[in-house]
């Protein structure tokens, strides 16, 4: 039959085409006996520059290992990593938030690091920090740096208002009167409205001896607590002391879109390491102060691992991954390159080596942590899984307060209803 041959050759052509197309997406890692590792993390361009430098240094001493990096802002990173992990395609080495550890370890995404203990020793890391990467007695992730909450401010504006530098133990009342004087002296908003971030509510709450979550992972505060916090912020906002709703609502976690980053305020709460971003706007006058404490001096802030790092359970190269992490966290060269960009080094030896050489903002950061060492209370346990969603709900709900769509009390009740649903075991 004449048609058959045509048909067969058609099919053959189609198959060949498919094969050619598939070939394009082929595995590049298998080439030349070189091991390829994927390393992903969140951060900004500054962190990217430092990380790439560290990766290059590692590749130089380990010519048989090739490291492919990719990074994204925190929110999108979290979403992408979750999708990858669920699809069984987690990168070999991944930066993690302490909120993710229990989920990722429990679902078998992370490798038990005791299997690579020889390549990746943890002896020089303090036990209190290692704890945050441990689930069910096994170490699944290692802290990459230590961070704490802080108030970033413009030292020049602060001095011009005749204010003294805030010391550990200063209270929310001290903070309020400072903001009042800043406003009078500078004419801009003294401070970014703290009402839209769950993290600052937590610090305020802990200053009153309470916590966000109890041991069972349920909300440990009442609608009354939240109402009080939001009413406090609202009072300051109505007096024009903190940033207005139209400005606060644009905060998305990046320094560039925050009121202080847009030069609409001279002070802003942030975590210490990411505050480095303000340097682009404030320059040399950028300073860090402790967070305000409760009325009796009870500190609300705490030290926690700014981020952790783990190895994928299904990574084909756990040993090489461990070598790389060891280079980043323990080696003289790696810790020197990374500096305090991901928080102060966790390895005590590296810390002692890195800290004295710091200058500028990095020194500011080390000084703050030094001032606070020994004064803070134990950090809370890693928050429950639902906290991820609640963080964004918190900001969204505060919009309703700030734009005066509802009273703080009503919105606080709504938030707690939603929190109970999210935290349902």
């Amino acid at each position: 039959m004449p048609g058959t041959r045509t048909r067969v050759s058609c099919a053959a052509t189609a198959l060949a085409l498919c094969a050619a197309l598939a070939g394009c997406g082929g595995d590049a890692g298998a080439a030349g006996g070189k091991v390829t590792l994927r390393f992903t993390w969140w951060g900004n361009a500054d962190r990217a520059a430092l990380t790439d430098k560290a990766v290059a240094a590692f590749e130089k001493t380990h010519p048989d290992i090739d490291i492919q990096t990719s990074y994204a802002p925190y929110e999108s990173y979290k979403q992408k990593l979750a999708t990858q992990a669920a699809g069984g395609d987690a990168p070999d080495v991944m930066q993690l938030d302490y909120r993710q550890i229990s989920q990722y370890a429990g679902s078998g995404v992370l490798r038990d690091l005791s299997t690579v203990r020889r390549t990746l020793p943890t002896g020089a890391m303090p036990h209190s920090l290692l704890k945050s990467g441990r689930v069910g007695g096994k170490q699944y992730a290692l802290p990459m740096g230590v961070g704490t909450q802080a108030m970033a401010y413009d030292r020049k504006a602060w001095r011009e208002a005749g204010l003294k530098e805030p010391k550990p133990g200063w209270t929310w009342d001290d903070w309020e009167s400072a903001v009042r004087r800043l406003k009078k002296a500078n004419g801009v908003y003294g401070m970014t409205d703290p009402g839209s971030f769950e993290d600052w509510f937590e610090v305020w709450l802990r200053g009153r001896g309470k916590e966000l979550y109890d041991a069972k992972g349920q909300a440990a505060f009442t609608a009354g607590d939240l109402d009080r916090f939001w009413s406090y912020a609202t009072k300051l906002r109505k007096e024009g002391l903190v940033s207005p709703a139209t400005s606060t609502t644009q905060m998305d976690g990046s320094v560039e879109n925050a009121p202080m980053g847009r030069k609409q305020a001279v002070a802003e709460f942030n975590w210490d390491a990411p505050s480095a971003g303000y340097e682009a706007m404030v320059g040399k006058n950028l300073a860090l102060a402790p967070m305000p404490s409760g009325a009796d001096g009870t500190p609300g802030q705490y030290f926690k691992p700014a981020m952790l790092v783990g190895i994928a359970a299904n990574s084909e190269h756990p040993r090489e991954s461990a070598q790389f992490i060891d280079f980043l966290l323990n080696s003289r060269e790696g810790t020197k390159i990374l500096g305090v960009d991901r928080g102060l080094p966790v390895n005590a030896t590296a810390r002692a080596r890195v800290v004295p050489k710091l200058t500028g903002f990095q020194k500011e950061m080390a000084d703050l942590q030094k001032k606070l060492t020994g004064r803070l209370k134990e950090p809370p346990a890693a928050p429950p899984r639902g906290d991820n969603a609640l963080q964004s709900v918190f900001g969204r709900d505060y919009d309703q307060v700030a734009f005066e769509r509802a009273t703080p009390r009503q919105v606080a009740e709504d938030f707690l209803t939603e929190a109970r649903a999210e935290l349902r075991p």
């Binding site: 048909r7 498919c18 979403q79 999708t83 992990a85 429990g106 400005s247 609502t249 991820n388 734009f403």
Partner: protein, 334 residues
């Protein structure tokens, strides 16, 4: 979102040309039908494979997931209709997102179509430089869906942005648009209106199909330009208007990128740009409620189907098919 999108495109799937290029038709010996069908399948296979693997299977999985509680990590657990029940009874924010989306559709679609029609009419009567202007007006549609344009939009309508500065120069101090609950939705709608290129090109094609003698006859009867537009252009163009209306409505229901970029993914300020798809994304990827998000996607598909059906129903009253004696029983004329 994907089920809804495929519903929009699924209409173009049936016409498979019977065995192209095998032998000239009417040759001495026509092959049996079944054999030619086989060849058609071979040629169709890349498309069929794509449709099944990339569209139908994911849709089926999404339907299944909509009846489960699924957080990406633990295996999905069956919860029956709970997600759907929760949508209707326990989620005030969902209602807000539905209202936002409806408001957006009602503002953006008519504005965009009116704009596209006006430009198409102007272009049609243009003597010189038609090609240039057509391309120039179409360009935003090519760019508009991208993230970068949405970010430019954000910068334009921010406080201290271009729009704010120009208005302040004119003595109108209103601050930014994207950071005020009353204005943010409008600035997102304007971004859609700006991308009027695709409906404009379709309108232009439709306008060129209208026989010139109709205008001549109308002119002889003493009809002015407006009268000609109302009595000749609009009725003759109504099938094209209908086509554009259906297409743009379906697209508007699925608006995502501009709102995501303008509000930094939060749908703010004060939930004023929290569109349905944005909330769906938030539930799925921020809160890890994939089951709930799947249920939302299926409700969106249903809602779009209902709205489209209603549009088809009303079309009988106002869409005119020139060569159709039964006065428009269905919208498949074009």
């Amino acid at each position: 979102m994907s089920p809804a999108m495929s519903a929009a495109t699924a209409t173009g799937t049936r016409a498979a040309p019977p065995g192209p290029g095998l032998e000239p038709p009417g040759g001495p010996r026509r092959r049996p039908k079944r054999e030619r069908e086989g060849a058609a399948w071979v040629f169709l296979s890349p498309w069929v494979l794509g449709a099944v693997v990339l569209t139908l299977l994911p849709m089926a999985v999404s339907l299944y997931l909509s009846f489960t509680d699924y957080n990406l990590f633990d295996p999905p657990s069956w919860v029956g209709l709970r997600n759907y029940r929760q949508m209707f009874t326990e989620d005030p924010r969902l209602l807000r997102s539905v209202l936002n989306t409806l408001l957006y559709v009602v503002i953006a679609v008519p504005l965009q179509l009116a704009f596209a029609l006006a430009v198409a009419v102007a272009l049609k009567s243009m003597r010189r430089g038609k090609g240039f202007y057509r391309s120039a007006f179409y360009a935003p549609s090519l760019l508009g869906a991208s993230m970068s344009i949405a970010l430019v939009w954000r910068a334009l309508f921010n406080d201290g942005g271009t729009v704010d500065s120009v208005l302040s120069g004119l003595g109108v101090h209103m601050g930014g648009w994207i950071n005020q609950p009353g204005w943010a939705l409008l600035s997102v709608a304007l971004l859609t209106v700006w991308q009027f290129g695709a409906p404009m090109v379709i309108f232009l094609a439709g306008l060129q199909q209208i026989p010139q003698e109709l205008y001549e006859a109308a002119a002889v009867d003493g009809a002015g330009r407006w009268r000609q537009f109302a009595s000749v252009t609009m009725p003759m163009l109504s099938p094209v208007v209908f086509f554009n209306l259906v297409l743009q409505t379906i697209q508007a229901f699925q608006v995502f990128t501009p709102a995501f970029a303008v509000s930094g993914g939060r749908g703010g300020p004060a939930d004023s740009t929290l569109f349905y798809t944005l909330y769906l994304y938030d539930r799925g990827f921020t809160a890890s409620h994939m089951g709930y998000a799947s249920a939302m996607a299926w409700m969106l598909l249903l809602a779009i189907a209902v709205v489209t059906a209603v549009l088809f129903r009303t079309s009988r009253a106002w869409v005119f098919y020139a060569n159709d004696t039964s006065n428009g029983t269905s919208g498949e004329g074009r």
